[in-house]
């Protein structure tokens, strides 16, 4: 049994970098909404969830594995190699000690993130209600990871890099729906609005 299944969202799985030449089990889902079914169909205990438009750098998975923490997300880059702020999501900034400790491990704690490249335990995916792209549109990944990370504190690993995809277009109604879910605490709405609104 392979230890890791690569779950490609939005298109059939593609060949790519593999840790130490070990073959990955490949699974695909037509959308984020099908993520849980895809996870159920995988046998590996670890899932590397990749957006179909994401192209991981050769050591992206290795860096996620070495981070030790899960979920662990890669740093999304644009075609020129510059990090894409809007795809990073938001950092878990409520606990200064945790932020400082994570920096010493070269990581940043996450509050939520877009699903571009995420290493997560399969069991954690199976225990959550799946993302809902119809309701939350481009923020479905953020809404889902907010729930995921509330149960399983995870990190951004800047050493793990993937290129693409394009960030979602701002959709205020979907963003507001996301912020009205119980996962969002009081006082977070203004900060979230500032993050999702253009400009």
């Amino acid at each position: 049994m392979t230890a890791i299944a690569r779950v490609t969202i939005g298109a059939p799985g593609r060949p790519g970098a593999e840790p130490g030449g070990e073959p990955l089990e490949t699974v695909s889902a037509s959308s984020l909404g099908q993520l849980r079914e895809a996870a159920a169909g995988a046998s590996a205990p670890l899932l590397w969830i990749l957006d179909a438009g994401a192209v991981p750098e050769p050591d992206a998975l290795q860096a996620l594995l070495e981070a030790g923490a899960r979920p662990a997300a890669s740093l999304p880059l644009d075609a020129s190699g510059a990090p894409v702020e809007r795809l990073i999501g938001r950092y878990a900034d409520g606990d200064t000690e945790r932020l400082l400790a994570a920096a010493q491990r070269r990581q940043v704690p996450l509050r939520h993130t877009h699903v571009v490249s995420l290493l997560v335990d399969r069991a954690a995916v199976l225990e959550l209600a799946p993302p809902d792209p119809e309701r939350y549109r481009g923020y479905a990944g953020s809404e889902w990871t907010a729930r995921l990370l509330a149960r399983h504190p995870g990190v951004l690993v800047p050493a793990s890099k993937v290129r693409g995809p394009d960030p979602p277009k701002p959709a205020l109604a979907a963003a507001l729906r996301m912020m009205r879910t119980p996962t969002w605490g009081r006082g977070e709405t203004l900060r979230e609005l500032r993050r999702v609104l253009p400009g």
């Binding site: 920096a103 070269r106 940043v108 800047p158």
Partner: protein, 286 residues
């Protein structure tokens, strides 16, 4: 890279002695130690006399922390140092504190204008008066700094913060007329508005205050300075703009509500706030 440790003291000879011992024990010694004596009595002079090689700038009267630091920074610049490391006399840096700050500068993804230590209290919690203001809203730069084991900051306090010569030449010093409190926010806020500052997590300093208080819970009536200086900064300071200024205004409202709510003598607390509001709304005595 020539580093000057700048220590501000006022009538706390025992603290000053301990602070100087901690500087002497640094794994990477500062290239110079400059003590600004803010109008202390003879006891402080006696302590300083026992430390050969320590440069002393003696001020005839206590002009407050803001003034003391401003004068000390100016003197440090005149002596040609590349970096000036600020410390209160009750700040005791761990032995690797300076070495870690310098290592942080070396590995920083961008040239920092300022680096600062993690400041803890006696029970090892982060000192509430020196809690770092992290710049998490700059997500890309924050991730870059984390990749280097550093934490991007928006402002820093005067306890174990080290500032680059060029930043001092461009942005100047603490606002002396603030006297105490918020002066370091105004100053570092200005430097870092368009500049770069990092906290180096392995660089640790003990801030040995009697109580672990912040500007709100400090019970010595100093909240007057908090209100007055906060208003001055909001009205005319160049540290914050746009949404940051709004956030900072909201912070004053929250702090005031907390101060009044937690005060044992509400009437006295209200009078303190009223005095701060009155003077904060007057023109700054520049």
């Amino acid at each position: 890279m020539r580093v000057c440790a700048l220590v501000l003291t006022c009538n706390r000879p025992d603290m000053l002695e301990t602070c100087l011992e901690h500087l002497r024990d640094q794994s990477r010694a500062p290239d110079g130690v400059l003590v600004v004596d803010n109008g202390s009595t003879q006891e402080t002079a006696d302590v300083l006399a026992g430390h050969a090689g320590v440069d002393v700038l003696r001020l005839p009267t206590n002009i407050g922390g803001a003034g003391g630091y401003a004068r000390g920074l100016r003197a440090g610049l005149e002596r040609g140092y590349d970096w000036i490391w600020l410390l209160d006399d009750d700040a005791f840096p761990e032995p690797e504190c300076l070495e870690a700050l310098l290592a942080g500068i070396e590995r920083a993804p961008r040239q920092p204008d300022l680096v600062t230590s993690l400041v803890r209290w006696r029970d090892s919690r982060i000192h509430p008066m020196n809690r770092p203001w992290l710049r998490v809203n700059r997500r890309v730069e924050f991730a870059e700094s984390a990749a280097a084991g550093l934490v991007l900051v928006r402002v820093a306090t005067s306890v174990s913060t080290m500032v680059r010569r060029e930043a001092l030449l461009e942005h100047g010093f603490h606002p002396e007329h603030y006297r105490i409190w918020i002066d370091d926010f105004e100053w570092t806020g200005r430097i870092l508005r368009d500049g770069v500052g990092y906290l180096v997590p392995e660089s640790v300093t003990l801030h040995n205050t009697e109580h672990a208080r912040d500007t709100v819970t400090d019970a010595r009536g100093r909240f007057y300075y908090k209100v007055r200086n906060h208003l001055w900064l909001l009205r005319a300071g160049r540290a914050f703009g746009g949404l940051e200024r709004l956030d900072y205004a909201y912070a004053l409202l929250r702090a005031t509500r907390r101060y009044i709510g937690e005060s044992a003598d509400r009437r006295e607390a209200l009078l303190t706030v009223a005095r701060g509001l009155r003077d904060g709304l007057r023109p700054e005595p520049r």
